[in-house]
Subunit: 530 residues, 2 copies
């Protein structure tokens, strides 16, 4: 039997409209109807917002000459139906875009004690990353710990609704290639960055590139591997991203070498690094690059500030840095969970956006303690509400109009992230021609607590029944977690959970067992009586 | 068959030791062994930390003349065995003590938009609470919405490991009595407060006591109901707590009337109210009570600052307020999730504790967005790491040494809370003679992600296997949720989840069905062949 030509998604679709100005108030777009995605390329081919009832749905099918998969004649166009069930408070939402996450650090999630950035790197991060080296006797084989961590972090991010991730790997080529292969195999859209760090005065001896040239050479090996994953003619989900760890761990030669490498490709390669995360880190950069005006100019002088550059954190930008980054079109990944956890401070997101900087959200695992970007959405809201109490420098305006609404935070996690990874026309929303990168959220129907408490609840969200859709989305944001993610698709492919088929199968088995039991009883009774 | 005389808990027990000074570093106490609890009174009667193996366990049973329930002779003392399974990364931990939660606001969890305290009260809180009034035609019957909300909030707090809660109800006597009855029936340790609010210039007409005398009279009716729940001779889990909402909603007459009522009881009744949460609220209090030196002195002049008083928030205390509250022995409920969500600010917890104020944690649902106190633990850590960036007044020392460690936050959620509700010798830890108010936490064994991601994972925590117990506890704090709460006991009674029996039963059923299937197949084959 041939695959259905389209998957038809029916139910409530919620997304954030694009904005033309950061001063515009973000509001949820809530639509009910049908939307169809091509099986061939995973893109949205059409929608009909007039479909409200079963009879509307039948009319739609008839009008297009579609029959549901498993039914109808051979000559008809088959479609598969996936529903967001209203009675289960389900809705389709764009997949989350995690613009900053360290894949090898996943096993360290939640382990940071009371450390701040620089001691945390030494105590927790560098030893973990060093363990991703291949054994000396098998230099091209990644260690089993790398498979375990990378396999798990992809599965966990997908299960939390992250359809796109900008990953940092480690300096090791075999392990980094493995991360790329796994993302490709599991169908997650990903930017994969081999980390470059070659400064002998700051990098541990167990985790360092031999030279700037080696940094570039190893990076090129990873790029070649990623480009070999899919035929050149096909649109690929996995792309390389150049990843100088951060200014303190790189020499000027490797920084500018990577910038040159980015420019050598058409279109230019993506770039990611860290910036202005922590006050001690900023002091270190000032010491190490005494000729540079500020942190951002270190990267700018190397040629690393491009429209495809993702700068993580930007907690302590000066007005001059904001202007420079906005002028270059480089993007910022806001990682509020990490910034609080490591005591880095609060990034003035609204101030950045007002200054023309494009912002998305990052989990920054394991500086951040959650692989779920919903936690990033919550933290972006929470810390923004503390902005009025911060001692920002006078006259810079960072403390004004600082509150990020739930809607703005969801915008950052979807549309914002899409712009940060330079794919604003492909992902982050449900428009014609965009890829179907989506999550099906199930809040569940109200389930009264029984004698034994909330044991039977499928999730932590209680929808009592009087809530509007806007209120349901707020409840999801504040009480939801991965339990609410029923299914996840990337470019039309189901990559996590169930689109409905599995559930049908399971209840079927229950019936089969029930019938077997009844049959057995009948036979036994006949024998005894006979 | 008679009940077993003891329940014997075997496995790893983790708790926070009591401290003598707030400057002492909090560390986890991690012990492996056996601990037994009397069925008669639910208290810890003994332990043996030398029990490490099955053979040690058998020796322990023999030495005490104990046999496991369901086995042995009639003359033996029967005990029931509950295990924290090492291979599932399970451990016993003291139940959480939520020192501040508004039960009627539970259906509003997650709904606050971008509001701050005073407008949030008007928009979300007061309309919800007003709906708890009894219908005019049935003035002694609570409305069905009250049953639904109260039943659910008790089930949900229990399912998150909250064994004790200091609840605010509403002004309504029938609904408040219902909350007390439900807590009593479900076995949650609770302080139940009928809210008093009688100031005509600030309270909505739909939610106000007719007079200060009515405030007192209605409160007495609730106290009488609570005292009738259990025989006077028996130690009761549910107690009344006097609850003037906060200074702005009360008249001086009701404030001092409630203080008098507290003193009339032996021992004096508990008291709870709000204080110094929000800067606009503080300005309102200053305006309303112009003769008072500061917010705390409003309560002090009324006689409300006692060793059994719980003051929620204390975000903006002056040094004079800290000294006064410490001198009176009144306690503070720190509600970090709420303080961030409503943009109230950051309570300088370490500064309060250094000044001699006893502090516990509160969820403050629905100003706080989570019924789980584990979120309170996380938020207490997170916001404390932002303290260095706050513009506190010079010279007060609030910004110094502000970091709350994971261990200190867990201390606040258990030992701290026990002191706040004035039960430090009964709950919050596992000492001889204390009540068995505990949760069994299951992190689960490592489950590698399969083709379909982390679907099969029982929780959001990944323990890879190399972690120490301290690291496992940190992973629980940062990635855990109610899925990790396998069982909850209050005073020895199982009030949520399963102590092991249920699991045995379910796998048993699977076997029964399997055998029925095989038997049926055999009979069918015989008939066909015969």
């Amino acid at each position: 039997m041939v695959s259905p030509m389209y998957t038809l998604y029916v139910g409530t679709f919620i997304q954030l409209p694009r904005t033309t100005s950061p001063d515009e108030k973000h509001e949820l777009s809530i639509t009910r109807g049908a939307l169809w995605v091509s099986t061939a390329d995973g893109k949205i081919k059409g929608f009909d917002w007039s479909v409200a009832t079963e009879s509307d749905l039948q009319t739609l099918l008839k009008r297009h000459g579609w029959v549901l998969a498993g039914a109808g004649s051979r000559s008809s166009v088959r479609v598969k139906l996936v529903r967001a069930r209203e009675e289960e408070n389900e809705f389709f939402f764009p997949g989350f875009i995690d613009t900053h996450i360290h894949a090898p650090q996943y096993p360290n999630t939640g382990l940071f004690g009371s450390a701040t950035l620089l001691d945390w790197l030494q105590t927790y991060t560098f030893p973990m990353e060093a363990s991703f080296a291949s054994p000396a006797s098998l230099p091209s084989l990644p260690p089993p710990t790398a498979y375990r961590a990378y396999s798990q972090v992809i599965a966990r991010t997908l299960s939390h609704g992250t359809t796109t991730a900008a990953y940092y790997a480690t300096i090791h080529v075999p392990a980094t290639n493995l991360l790329a292969s796994l993302a490709h195999q599991r169908g997650q859209r990903a930017l994969i960055g081999r980390v470059c760090m070659d400064n002998r005065s700051t990098c541990p001896t167990t985790l360092i590139d031999e030279s700037p040239e080696a940094s570039i050479r190893h990076t090129e090996a990873v790029i070649a591997h990623i480009h070999s994953l899919a035929p050149a003619t096909k649109e690929t989900l996995v792309k390389p991203i150049l990843t100088p760890r951060f200014a303190p761990s790189c020499t000027p030669a490797s920084l500018s070498g990577l910038a040159t490498l980015a420019r050598q490709h058409k279109p230019p390669l993506h770039i990611q690094t860290h910036i202005a995360e922590n006050v001690n880190e900023i002091a270190l950069v000032r010491e190490q690059f005494p000729g540079c005006e500020h942190y951002a100019s270190v990267y700018d002088e190397a040629g690393l500030l491009t429209p495809r550059t993702i700068l993580a954190h930007a907690v302590h930008f000066s007005p001059a840095e904001r202007s420079l980054v906005a002028a270059r079109g480089a993007k910022v990944s806001h990682c509020p969970a990490s910034n609080s956890a490591l005591g880095s401070g609060i990034c003035p997101v609204r101030w950045l956006r007002r200054g023309g900087v494009v912002v998305g959200l990052g989990s920054d695992v394991s500086g951040g303690y959650s692989v779920g970007l919903l936690e990033g959405v919550r933290q972006a809201c929470l810390v923004s509400r503390l902005v009025p109490f911060l001692k920002y420098p006078e006259g810079e305006g960072k403390g004004e109009d600082g509150v990020v609404s739930v809607e703005e935070a969801l915008y950052l996690a979807t549309r914002g992230g899409a712009a940060v990874v330079d794919l604003p026309d492909l992902i982050g929303g449900f428009e014609l021609g965009m890829a179907w990168d989506a999550q099906l959220i199930r809040l569940g129907r109200f389930k009264p607590a029984g004698r034994w408490g909330a044991n039977g609840a499928i999730s932590n969200v209680d929808v009592f029944g009087e809530e509007s859709w806007v209120e349901k989305v707020h409840k999801w944001v504040w009480s939801g977690d991965d339990r609410n993610v029923r299914a996840v698709w990337v470019q039309g492919r189901l990559v996590h959970g169930s689109d409905g088929g599995d559930e049908g199968r399971w209840s079927g088995w229950k019936w089969v067992w029930g019938l077997v039991g009844v049959g057995a009883a009948w036979v036994v009774v006949r024998r005894v009586n006979g």
